[in-house]
């Protein structure tokens, strides 16, 4: 900060505040501001532009993996982030592209976890594979895979129970579910999406770290992006964990979903 005159120092502090309040986090904010200082921008606009460029270099977009044969998309994440709703949105998106899908109600734990998914299945007019509250999620997934293979479906979308990433027992449970899939489906046909809540602060990074530790997380679905939060944490997640953000949720309705575009995301930070 010493290289700048007082006026610019104030502006840098302003930038620090903007980024911190966008939940970018102190570590990532300082890395960005350090890079800025080395480039020695001459104006405020140039500074903002540089920051945007740096972010654009870090943030990763991505698409759903496309493969012939049955694909399984596994939705994981902590409690209440928007897994079930986001799954329904992806099902709607795939159906519009002409893909044959089934929903898999593998949240056998939470009250009405299955019923909630059934409502979406009915709205979408697509089948749902389910058992009952308390049954083994692996068993539901096992049934679903057999059904998906015999019916030659394009995708199975697996809903799982919310789980705190700090609960080792629950993390091992979802690994078991993944392994049930892996028994019958090749690894490159399984997509693990971690659902992140845009209103979450620094803990979002911890969540992504843990889910990536246990599962081959290929992408993130950023739900509740229609909130007043900027979800700055995805910058660090993209950079340090190599997890691309594939979709954003923008509301509670089935069509409230967009492909994640880093250009719009970066504009929204400012």
């Amino acid at each position: 900060i010493r290289k700048f005159n007082k006026m610019d120092r104030l502006f840098l502090e302003e930038m620090e505040q903007t980024l911190i309040q966008a939940d970018v986090g102190l570590i990532t904010t300082e890395e960005i501001l350090e890079k800025i200082q080395r480039k020695n921008p001459k104006s405020r606009d140039e500074t903002k532009e540089l920051i945007s460029e740096i972010m654009a270099g870090i943030i990763q977009e991505g698409e759903l993996c496309q493969k012939n044969g049955l694909g399984v998309i596994l939705f994981c994440g902590v409690n209440g982030v928007g897994k079930t709703t986001s799954l329904a949105k992806i099902a709607h998106y795939l159906k519009k592209k002409g893909k044959k899908c089934k929903l898999v109600a593998a949240d056998t734990y939470r009250a009405a976890g299955i019923e909630q998914l059934e409502v979406w299945a009915e709205k979408l007019k697509i089948p749902v594979i389910k058992q009952f509250q308390g049954s083994d999620p692996g068993a539901v997934v096992f049934d679903a895979i057999n059904s998906g293979l015999s019916d030659r479906d394009d995708y199975l979308l697996v809903d799982t129970a919310g789980r705190m990433h700090t609960r080792e027992d629950l993390m091992r449970e979802i690994v078991k579910v993944y392994n049930v899939v892996l028994k019958k489906i090749p690894e490159d046909h399984i997509e693990v999406l971690v659902v992140l809540d845009a209103t979450t602060g620094q803990n979002g990074f911890n969540q992504a770290v843990e889910f990536k530790k246990y599962l081959p997380v290929q992408g993130a679905f950023l739900a509740k992006y229609d909130s007043s939060f900027k979800a700055g944490i995805i910058i660090r997640i993209s950079k340090e964990l190599n997890i691309p953000i594939k979709f954003v949720g923008t509301g509670e309705k089935i069509e409230d979903m967009d492909t994640f575009r880093k250009k719009d995301y970066i504009t929204n930070i400012f």
Partner: protein, 292 residues
């Protein structure tokens, strides 16, 4: 943990024997880092750092024997000051000769429905009923009915009614007839910038006049929580808050920001998905947790 972070800052102070401006700057930077990592609001951090700086450079500290211990004490005392020293909570029981109405509001997925059931269990002796006033979320009513049946908690619902206000009015009438004393209203999640949904809450509060309007937020929420709380506050003055998901490794800085910037008391914290996972908010417990 924070104490270790300060040990090396103050190690060279022991040599020279006094806390100087430079030592303080380093120590304050560490506090800033710890707080921001804990999701404490940026404005609260700035204010806090200024207060601690003033006190730490004060005469009494410069004369102290153990600078790091004194510094930590100043930080800790200042935090407890922000968090409040007393546990303000809901009353132990509610009056038996009338209805007390609690309304839960908050962002989507913050834990309102689960908390409604937990509160009903906690106040079992006050003859509670939960009103399922979320007609929007798929299977929201089923969620309450299933939990209500499992834990023997009465739930009032009307699956045909699409207006929350009407569900609540019918529920209150029904609760008076059945002589329930504590009415807990579970409302739909909503984003604070959704004018229509915020007006809905405002209207419900005006017509129903709940005794307690409680903001349910999760401990994982980021910097903007304060603005969310303020918006809810504008729609209906909040009596207090419940912060959920404290069983995560989120440090809970949101508690500090909420208390300091909106003066909202925190009645309880949610510590899990089970019925009994609702604990009283302890300012000193949270202070230690935020400091890491």
């Amino acid at each position: 943990i924070l104490r270790d972070k300060f040990e090396d800052v103050f190690r060279f102070i022991k040599g020279t024997g006094k806390i100087r401006q430079e030592n303080i700057e380093q120590a304050l930077k560490k506090i800033k880092m710890a707080f921001l990592e804990a999701d404490v609001n940026y404005r609260v951090v700035r204010h806090f750092i200024d207060e601690v700086k003033k006190k730490a450079l004060g005469e009494s500290v410069l004369k102290s024997v153990s600078p790091s211990q004194q510094f930590i004490k100043i930080v800790y005392d200042e935090m407890v000051k922000l968090l409040g020293t007393q546990t303000v909570s809901l009353p132990e029981t509610f009056p038996v000769n009338k209805q007390t109405i609690i309304m839960l509001v908050g962002l989507n997925g913050s834990g309102k429905t689960t908390t409604a059931i937990k509160l009903a269990r906690k106040y079992n002796k006050s003859n509670p009923v939960v009103i399922a006033a979320d007609p929007y979320r798929p299977a929201a009513v089923d969620q309450l009915l299933i939990m209500g049946k499992k834990y023997s908690i009465p739930v009032f619902y009307d699956k045909k009614e699409t207006f929350p206000l009407r569900i609540i009015q019918k529920g209150i009438k029904d609760s008076k007839e059945k002589k329930y004393n504590l009415i807990i209203i579970d409302t739909a999640g909503r984003m604070e910038m959704n004018k229509e949904l915020m007006n809905e809450i405002k209207e419900i509060a005006q017509k129903i006049k709940p005794d307690y309007r409680i903001f349910v937020a999760d401990a994982l929420t980021g910097q903007n929580l304060i603005n969310v709380a303020k918006e809810f506050q504008l729609s209906t003055p909040l009596n207090g808050a419940i912060l959920t998901k404290f069983d995560s490794d989120a440090r809970g800085g949101a508690a500090l920001s909420l208390k300091y910037l909106t003066k909202t008391d925190i009645f309880y914290i949610g510590t899990g998905e089970k019925l009994n996972d609702l604990d009283k908010f302890s300012p000193s417990g949270i202070a230690k947790r935020i400091l890491g």
